[in-house]
Amino acid sequence: MTIQEMPGSTAYRPSPPPAWKPRTDPAPLLPDPEPYRVLGTGAAARVDPALMRTLYAELVRGRRYNAQATALTRQGRLAVYPSSTGQEACEVAAAAVLKEQDWLFPSYRDTLAAVARGLDPVQALTLLRGDWHTGYDPREVRIAPLCTPLATQLPHAVGLAHAARLKGDDVVALAMVGDGGTSEGDFHEALNFAAVWRAPVVFLVQNNGFAISVPLAKQTAAPSLAHKAVGYGMPGRLVDGNDVAAMHEVLTEAMERARRGGGPTLVEAVTYRMEAHTNADDATRYRVDAEVEAWRDHDPIVLLERELTERGMLDDDGVREAREAAEAMAADLRARMNTDPVLDPMDLFAQVYTEKTAQLCEQEAQLRAELEAEAER
């Protein structure tokens, strides 16, 4: 499971076939046939126990976050919530491998990754609550706006990483996308740009089996999504996305490779979406409970708990502590989300352009007059 440095391709010039040389050796770019695992294998012995315990606490907190956000949605406090329940290992690992200066490019499903990176959950949930589109300053926290148009965040990650590299900054971008998103043209274009530019970016595909109702088999006929990497000339890695230790190891390696100029990596994390697509979705229309049940035994928290317990690294106290911390986070989130945000409709006009156009000033004045009339009634 070593990743070979990709030789620079800029020397390539067209040459007649008798002199043909492949531009890159494909063999090291191909993923292993099986998803890489650490928990429950000999490799687990290598992992730093402190890291394991930290990841455990994060997983527990992440699961609680998902539950709380789901509950808030039922209570009408969120417009919609796409839960990452079952996918917490991917979310948590993605945040954990980032350095302070690195950037995260999340999709709508990845609020947990943003929270795990340190973003205030209330800010992370702004989009889904509906008071504004983005609830934080992306530059301050180095988290791009949660992205809804599928795969469109990937070229952004490439551009940002490329810009940082041109500037000589030590910045790596980690971009997240779903299995369905890999079918979009923007996925293709982003990976290609990244490889040609050797941009320091890591693409993390969470293959959770479905794009809303559409199962992977209707999405791709590829041996694995990680196999797509070779077509761009970057390494593809296949990982058990519910094994947080494996996720952490593979992503760390990919980040380091990007950091030292080795270019991008495509990581496919095999996981499963335990809940419906969002609260508005009805998963019974397209999948059976037995399938969901089969994954319960392979739950990311169960896997890690099993490993830690077997190796005497986690006792009841440890479990309680993690749960208490999670509850505290949830209580705080609940309290702060159970208020109606105070909004200023004039914000609609404030940042369409750097300076409001005369046209927008007119419309602003009109709306202000309407609101005043409304208030008087």
């Binding site: 989009l127 809804t148 043209g185 559409v214 369409v352």
Partner: protein, 340 residues
């Protein structure tokens, strides 16, 4: 009304149905009648689409007739172009307005131009269904009014129903048309209901004809799709002010029914165009300009426009400030220089 919109076989009395049901039924009847009709898009199969408009079609007609595609809008529309080249009649569902943008090149450079480029040899009997507009509390990118883009692209028909009856009748016609039709479904009217039977669609006017939804003499409200109920409500409220407003439902933006619209405005002498799309560069400019060109000497006041604000679509909690409501329509009517 073209004969293709009459439902085959059974007869049923009119009963309450939603626009969503009428749309579903239109596809179902079209598929039953014509084996070349194929429905395709994201989640249109087992799920029946995120709005359930294709509910049951995969079950009834099989996955080859109602197909869950990979998640790639240019690919969907591009594949549909190829299917149409081979004689099929694809009905493409785009999941939301803004998610049709990845297919823009296929739409503008191929779908709209294919008949013209080939001197009529290759027809494009494609229907592209796009749920559009806001008012449903959707997060960003789920509430765009994108009709201006399609209107500005010659070769496309642009059609949008505002009633349950039209939802069925216009969609049947769109599917039967040998020209590509961008079929814009006002998503906040999906659950609006009316008494309706697919057996009695005779009252439905064809694509290309505007319809007077409320006759009146003081001024004309020109509207379509999601703003029709707003205009009807405004017209009712206006009676209190002594205004008798005529409400026109355009139904099809392309072709545009200059005749009906101009006749109304010549009669009333005043007009307001109402739509949810942003005002600047939106359909209202074209409509106001056409009306003015044709009715200048009949106009007592300039044709006014009530439209969405010239801003990106707002987040759910602010969208009511963006959407043209009854008050804004009445304000505009009040500005039609009645003192003159």
């Amino acid at each position: 009304m073209s004969s293709t919109t009459a439902a085959p076989g059974r007869k049923a009395a009119a009963k309450p149905a939603s626009m969503a049901q009428a749309l579903q039924r239109a596809m179902r009847d079209a598929m039953a009648e014509d084996p070349t009709v194929h429905v395709m898009g994201e989640d249109v199969g087992a799920l029946g689409g995120v709005f359930r408009i294709t509910d049951g079609l995969a079950k009834e007609f099989g996955e080859d007739r109602c197909t869950d595609t990979p998640l790639a809008e240019a690919g969907i529309l591009g594949a549909a172009v190829g299917m149409a080249m081979y004689g099929l009649r694809p009905v493409v569902e785009m999941q939301f307005d803004a998610f049709a943008y990845p297919a823009f090149e296929q739409l503008a450079s191929h779908v709209a131009k294919m008949r013209n480029r080939t001197r009529g040899a290759l027809a494009m009997p494609l229907t592209i269904r796009i749920p559009y507009g806001g008012g449903i509390g959707g997060v960003e990118h789920h509430s765009d009014s994108s009709e201006a883009y399609y209107m500005a692209t010659p070769g496309l028909h642009v059609v949008t129903p505002a009633t349950v009856q039209d939802a069925y009748g216009l969609l049947r016609e769109a599917i039967a048309s040998d020209d590509p039709v961008v079929f814009l479904e006002p998503k906040r009217l999906y659950w609006s209901k009316a008494d309706w039977s697919p057996d009695a669609p005779a009252a439905v006017e064809p694509i290309g004809r505007a319809v007077v939804r409320r006759p009146g003499r003081s001024a004309t409200l020109i509207t379509y799709g999601p703003s029709l109920p707003v205009c009807l409500e405004a017209a009712e409220a206006a009676t209190a002010e002594g205004w008798d407003l005529e409400v026109l439902d355009l139904r099809s933006l392309v072709p545009f029914d200059d005749e009906t619209v101009a006749a109304s405005v010549r009669r009333t002498g005043r007009a307001v165009v109402v739509h949810e799309s942003t005002g600047f560069g939106g359909p209202g400019g074209e409509i106001a300009a056409r009306v003015t060109e044709r009715c200048f000497h009949h106009l007592e006041a300039p044709v006014l426009r009530v439209a969405g604000l010239d801003v990106p679509y707002p987040p759910p909690m602010l969208e009511r400030h963006h959407l043209p409501g009854v008050d804004r329509v009445l304000d505009a009517v009040a500005r039609l220089q009645w003192e003159a």
